[in-house]
């Protein structure tokens, strides 16, 4: 038995066979996963671009610079610009509150924070109509002051706040829970004020998680369809956000226009995913 001669190590044929079997198993599973993913997720994205550019780049461009579509893009961006800062302030505040203090009702608050994720968009929209709509107590009271809450930008912003408010908080809470409050207490003993402590100690620790949550929230704000469509009133050229515009164009039998508008949203989604995996690669706080 003179196998295993130096210096080249000869692998035992049994071992080679075993490894080959493992490789085949592994390859089969990976292949199935890739095939399914391509079919379920990859092909639909490809289809969006294929349809948008079906009639050429010129037609695509005409569809994009269509005034209604441009307005929808603007309205979508505007909504995000209003919603995101509010969400960030709320997310940081609630995460600070939950992770830095013990108080009665803390667990209940934790549950309520997550609640919007388990409520379907249409139901959320309906709730907003019921409470802030023209026929409701609050709605008619606001009406007396000539303030309309629903079927305009206010309604879109409010309902967007609802569907996206857990994103920032749910990224921050686990992180701030783990890091504890030692560093903040240390800063206080060194003479920092509360604000200075937050600015110089807390914020640097949570900024990536904050960005991460904000990116996810942004994707959802810009893409929200169901909830917004209930409260927007679908007024052409006034309350059509980009996803609603996609539907409008599609229902108007302008499929190419709809897919052109959809490419803008798809691009936002792709950028979101790229940013997400970049942050994840650099700061793996998840999983």
């Amino acid at each position: 038995m003179a196998s295993g001669t130096l210096p080249s190590v000869a692998e035992h044929p049994q071992v080679t066979a075993f490894k080959r079997r493992q490789k085949v198993k592994r390859g089969a599973l990976v292949l199935i996963a890739l095939a399914f993913s391509a079919l379920v997720m990859g092909v639909p994205v490809a289809a969006i671009f294929a349809r948008a550019f079906q009639e050429g780049v010129a037609v695509y461009w005409t569809n994009i610079v269509e005034p209604d579509t441009l307005y929808a893009i603007w309205l979508t961006v505007l909504t995000a610009l209003i919603v995101l800062p509010i969400n960030i302030v709320y997310g940081v505040a609630v995460a600070w509150l939950i992770t830095r203090y013990r108080f009665p009702g803390r667990r209940v608050l934790l549950t309520i924070i997550e609640l919007p994720f388990s409520i379907s968009p249409i139901v959320a929209g309906l709730c907003y109509l019921l409470i802030y709509g023209g026929t409701s107590v609050i709605g008619s009271w606001a009406d007396e002051w000539n303030i309309q809450l629903m079927f305009n930008l206010t309604g879109i912003v409010l309902v967007s706040l609802f569907v996206t408010c857990p994103f920032v908080a749910r990224e921050l809470i686990p992180l701030m829970q783990v890091s504890g409050k030692d560093q903040e207490e240390a800063a206080l003993t060194l003479g920092a004020t509360g604000w200075q402590t937050f600015r110089h100690v807390t914020l640097p620790n949570i900024r990536w998680a904050l960005l991460y949550g904000a990116i996810l929230a942004n994707a959802r704000v810009m893409g929200e369809f169901g909830a917004v469509s209930v409260v927007s009133g679908n007024i052409r050229g006034e309350t059509m956000t980009l996803p609603l515009q996609v539907q409008l164009l599609y229902d108007d039998y302008n499929a190419t226009g709809a897919f052109a508008a959809a490419t803008v949203l798809t691009l936002i989604a792709v950028i979101t995913l790229v940013l997400r995996s970049l942050i994840e690669a650099r700061h793996p706080h998840r999983h």
Partner: protein, 250 residues
């Protein structure tokens, strides 16, 4: 000749962890692989178990070439350093696992399995723990369960990877004797991986001292102390002389 290790070589990338290791053990013998961390002893044990494959060399057991045989077909009972108990199963189910996994043709029926498990628990003196879950056991109890589970498959060889390292000193001393007794009672060979000289000297019939991926010397405790083969061995066993002189060795 039970287990025969021949020219086993293993690389992790370009880093050679085992360099043409040769070792033969007798039937029913208890041997220890003793060495500092990074000496390759755990890699060697995992290769014997079939959890890793060597890059070169061969393994045979009772004349059968097992170099590339799947771990599940080797029937070598292994006790892991972490014990690797199945946390979602009771002690009884942990011990019965190996029997239940057998192909239908030679799987004992339910009654036989539970009889066998009960006998094993009795033998290991943990019969009162049968219905508990691993999370409800002490360290010493967990170790006994892990050992019993390994013995349940009627192993041809027992492999022990630092089975005492997670226990405190007091429990450790008591369990050493129990382990040795159990192994003699079952009558199978055993290989113990350890970095603790005292432990190896107390339990093993023969000790292989490992460093840098090689076996420096393989001999009985007495001979190791009397005539260390390399400066490393004598340095590594420094202090054991007095232990031996005190007559605590086997």
């Amino acid at each position: 000749m039970a287990l025969h290790i021949e020219d086993i070589t293993k690389f992790y990338g370009t880093n050679q962890v085992l360099d043409q290791v040769n070792l033969s053990m007798q039937d029913g013998e208890f041997i220890a692989l003793l060495g500092p961390s990074g000496s390759g002893k755990t890699s060697l044990l995992r290769i014997i178990a079939g959890l890793q494959f060597a890059d070169g060399g061969r393994l045979s057991f009772d004349g059968e070439d097992i170099t590339g045989v799947d771990a599940r077909l080797r029937r070598f009972g292994m006790v892991f350093q972490s014990y690797a108990l199945f946390e979602h199963m009771s002690v009884v189910d942990n011990v019965a696992f190996g029997l239940k996994m057998r192909p239908r043709a030679n799987r004992p029926n339910k009654g036989e399995i539970s009889d066998r498990v009960r006998k094993l628990l009795d033998m290991a003196e943990i019969s009162e723990l049968g219905e508990r879950f691993p999370s409800q056991l002490s360290g010493g109890q967990r170790q006994r369960v892990a050992l019993t589970r390994a013995l349940a498959i009627e192993p041809r060889l027992l492999l022990l990877d630092e089975p005492f390292s997670a226990l405190d000193t007091k429990v450790r001393k008591g369990l050493r004797g129990a382990l040795r007794d159990l192994q003699k009672k079952v009558g199978i060979g055993a290989i113990l991986v350890t970095h603790d000289q005292e432990e190896a000297f107390e339990i093993a019939d023969r000790i292989a001292i490992m460093a840098d991926g090689k076996i420096q010397q393989f001999d009985t405790p007495n001979n190791l102390l009397r005539s260390p083969a390399t400066p490393f061995v004598s340095e590594f066993l420094e202090g054991m002389g007095s232990y031996h002189a005190a007559g605590a060795g086997i």
